[in-house]
């Protein structure tokens, strides 16, 4: 009996961090999936993606008043606003050649800088308060630990969102097109769909996903002056680790990042400041080396 108790004790303190890693990872996944669309389908390196998330976050802070109706409203407005911003971005990107990542980076970085400071000018420099529905304000007891009710619900909602995304990609015509585009961008161009429309559609979808993540994730990664940068950096890390275009890879990478940020910090506190980037550099370098030694087909 003693040993069993000791065994549970050893795992016990890490249960909540592990669960929280799932919540965090799913949030990063929803935010990053928009960036995967941008990169995989439209071949756009969008450094303004974090700003799209921030739009959702600020919308949530402005509209949420503790009721369920306000949550629905905030979700609708946040998704629409971020999607509209995405379309606007697509319009700005029109003169830039597809696949010219450096000009895209320059343009979207500029938009992120300007848009970020406009957001702060509009909503104020203080981190705004985000009021979740009263029923989710408290905490629930899980295996003897308290855990924020909102995060628990968020895990369910985000998982449903991820599953929906998967089904849309697998089962619908639009999803088929998207997957085809990730595999072979030129093929879709041959289908006669105008590149400008693809771009607008993709950035709208990316905006909608980032906006949804921003609204639902506002109580977890809240709106503030640094939000856009944080989300952009995490999304970029996840997208690159996930293999630039694979949804399953992105999900895995997001969950890994979530666990690194929570469980990793709990297990290896002294290494914590280095964990995220060291893990990323190591994984990417090993993968690149693997590619180099397996000799690309010419």
């Amino acid at each position: 009996m003693m040993t069993v108790a000791a065994g549970t004790n050893r795992i016990d303190p890490y249960l909540i961090p592990a669960l929280d890693g799932v919540a965090y990872g799913l949030l990063v996944f929803v935010a990053a999936s928009g960036l995967v669309f941008c990169f995989g389908v439209a071949n756009i390196l969008n450094l303004a993606h974090g700003m799209l998330y921030a739009i959702g976050g600020y919308t949530a802070a402005a509209l949420l008043d503790g009721g369920w109706a306000s949550l629905a409203l905030a979700l609708a407005v946040g998704v629409l606003a971020a999607a509209a911003a995405g379309v606007l971005l697509a319009g700005l990107l029109t003169p830039v050649a597809t696949g010219n990542h450096l000009s895209q980076a320059l343009l979207t970085f500029g938009v992120a800088l300007a848009g970020g400071s406009l957001l702060v000018a509009g909503f104020g420099p203080d981190d705004p308060r985000v009021r979740v529905p009263a029923a989710l304000e408290g905490s629930v007891v899980l295996a003897g630990h308290r855990y924020a009710a909102y995060r628990l619900v968020f895990i369910v909602v985000a998982a449903v969102l991820a599953a929906t995304l998967y089904l849309v990609l697998r089962r619908t015509r639009a999803g088929m097109l998207v997957r085809a585009a990730v595999d072979d961008a030129e093929m879709v161009a041959c289908l006669g769909v105008s590149p400008a429309r693809i771009r607008a559609g993709v950035l709208a979808a990316a905006g909608a996903l980032a906006g949804a993540a921003g609204v639902l994730g506002a109580p977890i990664i809240g709106p503030g002056t640094d939000t856009a940068d944080t989300v952009l950096l995490l999304s970029l890390v996840v997208v690159v680790l996930g293999g630039l275009g694979s949804m399953a890879g992105t999900l895995l990478a997001a969950l890994a990042i979530g666990e690194i940020q929570t469980l990793g910090v709990a297990l290896l506190p002294s290494a914590a400041p280095f964990l995220l980037f060291a893990a990323m550099a190591a994984v990417l370098a090993v993968r690149a080396r693997g590619l180099a030694s397996s000799w690309r087909a010419a």
């Binding site: 000799w295 087909a297 010419a298």
Partner: protein, 247 residues
């Protein structure tokens, strides 16, 4: 007589599709060896395996008596396997001369000494001669990206020769060339030193018969037949293989 290059039991699979299925090939020193067969027979894949660009699942490649299976393309090139690609691969922002200089550098022999630039000067000298030989002397200072398709092909041949090959791999060198350019190509290939072996993939059988002294026929990733051009020309097996009409 031993082979300069031998490929043994080479197998390359892409998923369930076998591009090469246990192919054997032997090219002797100085031999002009042609590789023919219908589209999708695995000819280009075999060249890639020999050059080191594709790693076979099974089989070995020996060159000049040594097993080079584990070497990458750069190391094989330094040992004397040079190639030209099906679609001409040149450095688009470099001038024609610079392209050939770059290709010549790994195997250029320079005057002894330490003063700067002598290796490059030797390479430049060689590049000038090769461009002249291939009729590109007037275009020496034009960026390769601005050259026409045929000119790029000629340029790549100059680059391959600049590396002082012992074995030259040619993947459809005549594709997309004008009659004049094909004529010059044949001249250049016929003027190659006898010591240089050539492995030629070509659809145009007239060129194959004009240039080669040995022919291997590949079909569905397997060696169908091998022999002299005359034997192959009269072989009923090969005729049947070509019945769908390639050449």
């Amino acid at each position: 007589m031993t082979c300069l290059l031998s490929a043994e039991e080479v197998t390359v699979r892409y998923g369930s599709l076998a591009a090469l299925d246990g192919v054997d090939l032997c090219v002797h020193d100085g031999q002009r060896h042609a590789l023919i067969g219908p589209n999708g027979a695995g000819k280009t894949t075999l060249l890639n395996v020999i050059a080191g660009a594709t790693k076979p699942q099974r089989g070995t490649v020996r060159f000049a008596g040594r097993n080079v299976s584990r070497l990458g393309p750069a190391a094989r090139a330094r040992r004397g396997i040079n190639r030209i690609h099906q679609r001409p691969a040149v450095f688009p922002t470099l001038t024609a001369t610079e392209n050939v200089v770059v290709a010549a550098l790994p195997r250029v022999t320079a005057d002894p000494g330490w003063w700067p630039g002598r290796r490059r000067r030797a390479a430049r000298h060689r590049a000038g001669a090769l461009l002249e030989q291939l009729g590109l002397a007037d275009l020496a200072t034009v960026p390769a990206g601005h050259l026409a398709h045929g000119q790029r092909r000629q340029l790549e041949i100059a680059m391959a020769l600049a590396g002082r090959p012992r074995l030259l791999l040619l993947d459809e060198p005549a594709a997309g060339l004008s009659a004049v350019e094909v004529g010059r190509l044949v001249e250049v290939l016929q003027a190659l030193p006898r010591a240089v072996a050539v492995l030629l993939v070509e659809h145009r059988l007239d060129l194959v018969y004009a240039l080669s002294d040995a022919v291997s026929v590949l079909r569905d990733g397997q060696t169908l037949a091998a022999g002299t051009p005359d034997e192959i020309r009269t072989s009923p097996l090969v005729r049947q293989a070509y019945a769908d009409g390639v050449a």
